[in-house]
Homo-oligomer: 326 residues x 2
């Protein structure tokens, strides 16, 4: 692990307990009937990447004020709410190695608790009295949900172009990460130029984050990632590793594989075979390489920032996203 990543790990281990305390304080204020669902979801061991981004951007622009960790927790509530609805939609059994909320609490309470957490995120932001922050948040929710609908509409679409794929992951993942970064700058009353740089950083980091996620879905074992290998393949999601693999095939083979994938279910053995072909064929690695291009854009966006410890840590987050194994 390089020096920057070690520094980042130290910074995370310092901030995490404070972020978690802010999250717990909010959960305590919820109606008793919501608390068990909220606790299950929020204490499920997330990376807290989004709140960390908000904190770093706010500090980089000389945040003066209290409750930065509370504001940052709003991003995690928002993120978790989208995951709750997501897991229902994807019929996912596991989230971060634990049973997904809907498998424990049922469909209805999970949909509604997701709504509560979305509203809580907005309410936390409303406390800042800053309408720009609320707009930033509301747009993030709209864009994330819109991206997810586009992803569903594209299920089973083997003819998806790379541009369409990038548009979907930008919607479902990158805008929320963009908002995490931008909201730190807004809260700290940074300049419009700084805000734009934070947006560019966040957007590209977010696209890269999802590219790596999609690569990991073909390479990271359940023990490491907390969810089963090859979930995207099973769900009919044509992510980049699969698209690249299909592209590499001769027309006849490609047509045969598309025909096969279009008629689920596919046996477990055959699934493992396809996953292995994609993984050993280097298409997951190629997807990671694709992420590098976006991370370079993120790095460039940081260049205009004055030297600071936060800038160093943000650069390390770029390295973390590229090299992460879960």
């Amino acid at each position: 692990m390089n020096h920057g990543l070690v520094q980042l790990k130290v910074a995370f281990s310092k901030e995490l307990p404070v972020i978690d305390a802010a999250i717990d304080a909010e959960i305590t204020q919820l109606a008793p009937i919501i608390r068990p669902v909220a606790e299950h979801v929020m204490q499920g061991g997330g990376k807290r990447l989004r709140p960390m981004l908000t904190i770093l951007f706010a500090r980089a622009f000389h945040w003066r004020g209290d409750n930065l960790h509370t504001l940052a927790s709003a991003l995690e509530f928002l993120h978790s709410a989208t995951l709750m609805h997501d897991d229902i939609i994807d019929n996912a059994e596991l989230r971060r190695g634990k049973p997904a909320a809907h498998t424990i609490f049922g469909l209805a309470p999970t949909i509604l608790a997701g709504d509560v957490l979305l509203a809580l995120a907005n309410e936390i932001v409303a406390r800042t009295g800053n309408p720009d922050l609320i707009t930033c948040f509301s747009k993030a929710i709209m864009q994330t949900a819109t991206g997810e609908i586009m992803e569903i509409a594209a299920l089973g679409n083997a003819a998806m172009s790379k541009a369409e794929y990038i548009e979907i992951i930008t919607g479902k993942t990158a805008y929320l990460i963009q908002s995490a970064c931008e909201s730190g700058v807004i809260a700290a009353q940074g300049s419009p130029k700084a805000r734009e740089a934070a947006r560019i950083f966040g957007l590209n980091l977010g696209i890269a984050f999802q590219l790596v996620d999609d690569a990991l879905d073909y390479t990271s074992s359940s023990a490491t990632s907390g969810k089963p290998l090859g979930g995207d393949l099973r769900e009919g999601k044509y992510t980049l590793p699969l698209l690249l693999y299909l592209e590499s095939l001769e027309q006849k083979q490609r047509a045969a594989l598309i025909a096969e994938l279009s008629q689920p279910p596919i046996s477990g053995t055959r699934q493992e075979e396809i996953i292995a072909l994609i993984s050993t064929g280097g298409y997951a690695q190629q997807t990671r390489n694709e992420a590098k291009a976006y991370l370079n854009l993120a790095k460039q966006a940081l260049d205009s920032f004055p030297m600071s410890q936060e800038k160093n840590l943000l650069n390390s987050i770029i390295d973390f996203v590229l090299t992460r194994e879960k």
Copy 2:
């Protein structure tokens, strides 16, 4: 129809096209993939009671500004979003006489489009730049979703007290109507006293509204209400008409009926029989009478308001809620 109700009808027919135009203008701005769902839900013939309340309260306190109908539309987006999630949860086939959104667009797009409309409502409010309004909205969403979770937790609970029942309908219905009223006063920068009066009016109107709704579920035919008779009975919801009927029975009969209801499915003929017993026994009417007490409290809250056309219309809304047949 009394004079006040005629006036109210005239006022609604004047405002409705303007509210609908504001709603349509917002839908046009949504991503193309969301629009069909949003249009289906928003153009489904709602009463637009909530936006109308916002408009009347804002005008009663001398609203100065543009886009009052846009702000008011936010209440309808919020309300519709909760209905979309609601209909999924209740497995409802019909909404306002038309197929419920999830039966046309599927579970996933409907959950997500609901999230988009919740976020859109927040975003519209953020445009006002008024953090008080945003807090009012976010709390309304949280309380509504919490009330719905409480309702689900109480499904099949024949031992529910009247107080518990009132708590549930306050959560799932009254807080949102309260927020519709309060947000009008906040937007018009009315006094804290006016705001409190609007809250009391809205809360009691909302409780009465749901009481009448629960009465209509036992008396209003599908042709009138747009949804099948006796839905609550089928869904295992112990609303006030059923609770009152159970209370009227001798202990042995009561225990027998509770045992029967606890083991669905109940045949269609038997359902109709129970519905008829409740309706002809006057328990739906008794529920409406209960609503009167809350409407009196709403009326009292209005007393402190200076004379105005809006005050007259708000009084007529009280009459409308009491006498409505759908």
